[in-house]
């Protein structure tokens, strides 16, 4: 049930990011999803989300998928060295991810958007973990 709720949130975030806001909320939710779930299915979800994002935002198909998949893979590599479920890791990972994503998508570095994005990730992670996510799902 929690997973379906996350899928629904992800779908909404794809719509929002392509029509309303430039904050990379799809990336933020994928980071949260990976940290909560930690399965290879995260790559499949990132791939599909990236495809839809590119279609709605009229970008080259595959551009967002490549970035999201590679970023999640890098996160999975850090999982062995750092504790990824800490607030600091989530803040730093989403900040760096947002900066790079904005650079790739809009060819501009926007520090404020990356800061807001990382705060959004942290708050959403906290809320989802506290109220919606059951540890038995992992």
């Amino acid at each position: 049930m929690q997973k379906y709720f996350l899928f629904f949130l992800l779908f909404l975030s794809v719509l929002f990011e392509s029509s309303i806001t430039t904050i990379p909320i799809v990336l933020d939710l994928l980071i949260i999803f990976y940290i909560l779930d930690r399965k290879s299915s995260s790559f499949v979800i990132a791939f599909i989300a990236g495809i839809f994002l590119d279609i709605f935002a009229v970008r080259n198909i595959g551009q967002s998928s490549i970035f999201l998949i590679v970023f999640l893979f890098i996160l999975s590599l850090y999982e062995r060295k750092f504790e990824v479920t800490t607030n600091y890791f989530i803040l730093v990972a989403s900040f760096i991810g947002s900066l790079l994503y904005l650079l790739v998508s809009f060819q501009t570095i926007v520090i404020w958007q990356a800061i807001v994005s990382s705060l959004f990730t942290l708050i959403t992670y906290f809320l989802l973990k506290k109220f919606f996510w059951n540890e038995s799902n992992t």
């Binding site: 929002f16 990011e17 299915s41 790559f43 990132a46 709605f56 595959g62 490549i66």
Partner: protein, 265 residues
């Protein structure tokens, strides 16, 4: 170990598939289908989100602004006719106004940093290559330049607004005929740069496009309104003077624009 292998395998397969999609048009048929079916959803989600913001929208003020825009357009039209009459009378210059072929397009997406606060820098429209839209075509609203088509797919297109940081084109002031380059600064700001110090600029003067039509009829037609000069920065120590321009349009409130798909003499 098995989990690591699954991870790495999933990553490699999906990464390679993404690269194949990026490099080829393998997905184009399905892309068209999704664009057609989801553009109404995008429009609905945009309108739904803007609904609470529009509650505070003053209708009376909006009507007055619209009327003001129409009157300013008419005023500039009369200025143009006056100039053309003088030119024809003096036999120095004559211009044949080109009739535009306009394609109406709804704005289904205008992503910004903070919705309702930040100003958009590009629009996603519900018209694409199938309707004759090409990159480089101008987008207008009531003789005001909105921007230029930057990317096109079969059913959708992306317009780079005049306020976008990458937007740049030549323009001239109406009263003093000073020539300059209009550069977008982001966050709804535009400047008229590279104006010679010897040229005069006046506050409240209008700025119009100079025109950069190419042989294939793409580009920006001349005499489209860019905005009004609100401040001038002129220093004798600088090479050029710069003016800040305010567009007559409120880009965040636009719902429909027109793509100039061709010109007829």
């Amino acid at each position: 170990m098995r989990k690591k292998e699954t991870f790495f395998l999933s990553f490699i397969i999906l990464f390679l598939f993404s690269v194949v999609l990026f490099k080829t048009s393998f997905f184009s048929g399905i892309q068209i289908f999704f664009e057609k079916t989801t553009s109404p959803i995008l429009l609905v989600s945009k309108n739904l989100f803007n609904l609470p913001l529009n509650v505070f929208h003053n209708n009376e003020l909006a009507k007055l602004k619209e009327e003001n825009l129409n009157l300013q357009n008419k005023l500039l039209g009369y200025e143009n006719i006056k100039k053309e009459n003088n030119a024809l009378r003096d036999q120095f210059n004559s211009s044949y106004p080109l009739k535009n072929t306009l394609l109406p397009a709804r704005i289904i997406g205008s992503p910004v940093f903070i919705p309702g606060v930040s100003q958009p820098e590009f629009f996603v429209l519900d018209q694409g290559a199938k309707n004759g839209v090409k990159t480089g075509q101008a987008v207008v609203y009531k003789d005001n330049l909105v921007g230029k088509v930057q990317k096109v797919s079969s059913v959708l297109s992306v317009v780079q607004l005049v306020t976008n940081k990458e937007s740049s084109f030549t323009a001239r002031s109406v009263k003093t005929d000073a020539l300059g380059v209009v550069n977008g600064q982001g966050e709804g700001e535009i400047i008229l740069d590279n104006v010679l110090l010897s040229d005069n600029l006046e506050i409240s003067d209008f700025v119009k496009t100079k025109g950069d039509l190419e042989s294939d009829q793409e580009g920006i037609l001349a005499d489209l309104i860019v905005g009004k000069i609100v401040s001038i920065d002129k220093k004798s120590s600088s090479l050029f003077q710069v003016a800040k321009i305010k567009s007559l349009l409120n880009f965040s409130k636009l719902t429909t624009v027109f793509i100039v798909t061709g010109y007829q003499k």
